[in-house]
């Protein structure tokens, strides 16, 4: 019976590992990176023909779609034009539109809108500009707090003026990939802002411990219980 209990834990562990791999494979991820800005506050009210540019965004991975937080104030939102410019040269790297008609609120994080801008390569700095080409205003969301690591925001029509805060931007991959494929990169990111001796390897080791050693320990525990019997025994010291 005790070997059966250990076997149950062993088989269960194999099932967990297989199920975890399948779940990682089925979990398709479209996020390439974000600029790390929370979308909770109205940063710019974009009136018709006005544009707002988030400057000097570091491209951490290739992307093709930009997602942004807006508030259309309970009405169908206007058509928005998105332009991606190379920071250094001002060259247009991509562009696209967000169709009119969306109804969004900043206090509903799932309400974000997105526009396809074409594939943009990684390892460069870009400016992302949003232009309101519709007939009514829309609010762009972000945070009013500035971070030293973040880029600058400007807004205007012809002469852009600095605006306090940053827009919340997410950049989506050209093609979604599974979380399994992204796991090595994810664990490298997880190792940042840790003690210097922690690296991605630490999380691979922990994963191995969870997959192999923990089930063995639990199997040993339940087997040892079987060894000692399930009846009364001397109380602990």
């Amino acid at each position: 019976m005790r070997s059966r209990a250990g076997a149950v834990v062993g088989v269960g562990a194999v099932v967990i590992v297989v199920a975890a791999v399948v779940a990682l494979l089925l979990d398709q991820r479209e996020l390439a990176f974000t600029n790390g800005v929370a979308p909770g506050e109205e940063v710019v009210r974009l009136k018709p023909q006005l544009n707002a540019c988030q400057r000097n965004v570091q491209v951490l991975a290739p992307f093709a779609t930009i997602r942004l937080a807006t508030d259309s104030h309970h009405r169908p939102g206007p058509l928005l034009r998105l332009t991606v410019l190379e920071r250094r040269s001002g060259r247009v790297l991509g562009g696209g539109t967000v169709p009119a008609g969306y109804v969004t609120r900043l206090d509903a994080p799932q309400d974000q809108i997105s526009g396809f801008v074409g594939r943009v390569k990684a390892k460069r700095a870009i400016d992302v500009c949003v232009t309101n080409v519709g007939g009514q205003a829309v609010a762009l969301g972000g945070t009013l707090e500035s971070r030293p690591e973040n880029s600058d925001l400007t807004a205007g029509i012809r002469r852009a003026r600095p605006v306090p805060g940053n827009l919340a931007l997410s950049f989506l991959k050209p093609k979604p990939s599974s979380l399994l494929a992204e796991l090595p990169a994810a664990l490298r990111r997880a190792a940042l802002f840790h003690p210097s001796f922690v690296g991605a390897w630490t999380f691979w080791v922990l994963a191995a411990l969870l997959a192999v050693v923990v089930p063995l320990l639990l199997a040993r525990a339940v087997t040892a219980v079987g060894d000692e019997g399930t009846g009364p025994a001397p109380p602990d010291a």
């Binding site: 019976m1 005790r2 059966r4 209990a5 149950v8 834990v9 269960g12 562990a13 099932v15 779940a23 991820r29 996020l31 974000t34 790390g36 929370a38 979308p39 909770g40 570091q58 951490l60 937080a69 994080p109 974000q112 945070t143 690591e149 919340a168 979380l179 992204e182 796991l183 994810a186 664990l187 990111r189 997880a190 940042l192 802002f193 840790h194 003690p195 630490t202 922990l206 411990l209 969870l210 050693v213 923990v214 089930p215 320990l217 639990l218 040993r220 525990a221 339940v222 040892a224 219980v225 060894d227 000692e228 399930t230 009846g231 009364p232 025994a233 001397p234 109380p235 602990d236 010291a237």
Partner: protein, 511 residues
Amino acid sequence: MGEATETDAEPSRRHYPRPPLVAPGGAGRLRARLAQVPPPLAALLAAVMIVALAWALLAPPAEVPDEPVHFAYVQILAETGQRPQADTGEARRNVYSSEQRLARRSSNYEAPISFPTVRPEWRTSAFARWRGRESALPPPARRDGGAANSAAGNPPLYYAWEAIAYRLTAAWGLFTRWYAMRVWSMLLLGVAVIATWLLAGELTGANRLAQLAASAFVGLQPGATAISAGINPDGAMIAAWAVVMWLGVRLVRRGLSAGGVAALVVATLAALLIKATSFALLPAVAVALAVSARRAFRGRRPSPAAIAALVALVGAAAVAVVVSGAADRLAANDQSGGQLSVHGFLSYMWQAYLPNLPFQTPVQHLAPFWGYDVWVKSGWGNFGWAELLLPPAVYVVIGVACVAILAGGALAVARARARVDWGALAFLAVAAAALVVGLHIGEYRQFLDSHLSLLQGRYLLVLLPIGGLALAGALGQVPRRQRPVALGVVLVAMLALQVFELGIVVGRFYA
């Protein structure tokens, strides 16, 4: 407790010779002591610590509820010996030290809270930049926080414990200290596991299967692991309550002794010095003292010296609580919120767990089946700032399993009623009831005042040892030969929850 059906003698009355120590020296004595640790407990502890370590290292800083303010509390205590100022509702200038503010801005660790599309900082260049700036900070940058924060009213014991890890790693950067404090905190989950093992041993005559089931239930419950592997006094509360439960049951079972009373009072005091919620333990501790005293003095009068000693001990504990400020927090809570009406409270309780009746005035913002939402969903499977969720069907399975475990535990008690120690049962029941009623009263008053509920499932995690006993009782209803297999299934299920929830953390913050 179901295992009590197979106990043919009261374990507390037995005396077993202790194995002789093999070496007289300190190291040899320690080795001998460690060799006495039951193998199932040792294996379980190792497994629990590995899982907790994964939580401690994988969750980004601040992605444990209220972690930034708890870190700030520890930092000011460790750096200056002072607690943060009490929350006066004034403008919060310098809640965090300059060092913590730099870390917050550089790592972006708070931005993802409540915003599922936001991620913490992923750039290695930002990490390198933070290291450069951190190393250039002057020493006062660690000591200029400490203004009012939401944790400031908490008693200091947990923070003093965490300050040990802080001081031991003081030579390193903020994030090294942060993770060291998490690892230090998770050791308390080990304390909870050991205490639950001993608690189950007291009640079942050291039935190993019951002990393993009960302690694994505490050590592998995902909510308990996640909170214990962060900087948050709720993790310490699980350990403190488990120790109080063990010592209370031990006192009831083994009879009144000066050492037993002192241990129980000290453990209760420790719980009170961690969080004011532990005042809910006092009625149960009173029950334990009363039951054990009644059994000890049945037919004879206690000596004046014994009474004086007991009164002095309890009085000293009360003074310590007042001096520590633990009572201030309770008093502050008592003054906030609306006025309690019994009729309104009972109506609220009904609506929290059952469908509204036509004549009831609905409690604003109280979700239907609130009890399920808070105790099952929030207690078992929402992490971070209550935003990392499991698939809905999993909560249904967990809820059904919880009901089955509680029913199995109740059945075990009913079947073994002739042998059940009703004093011990009363002690545990009063502890659970006082906590649940106390939390509900607090929440009801919040609803009256602000129509908001701040109740979290994690507040109920201190009752996990009782849940573990219920699991042991439920397993006792399974045919004896099948019990290890059934326990194996439970262990696998809890491990699966842990693995998938860690996977959710990876997907949420790093992908």
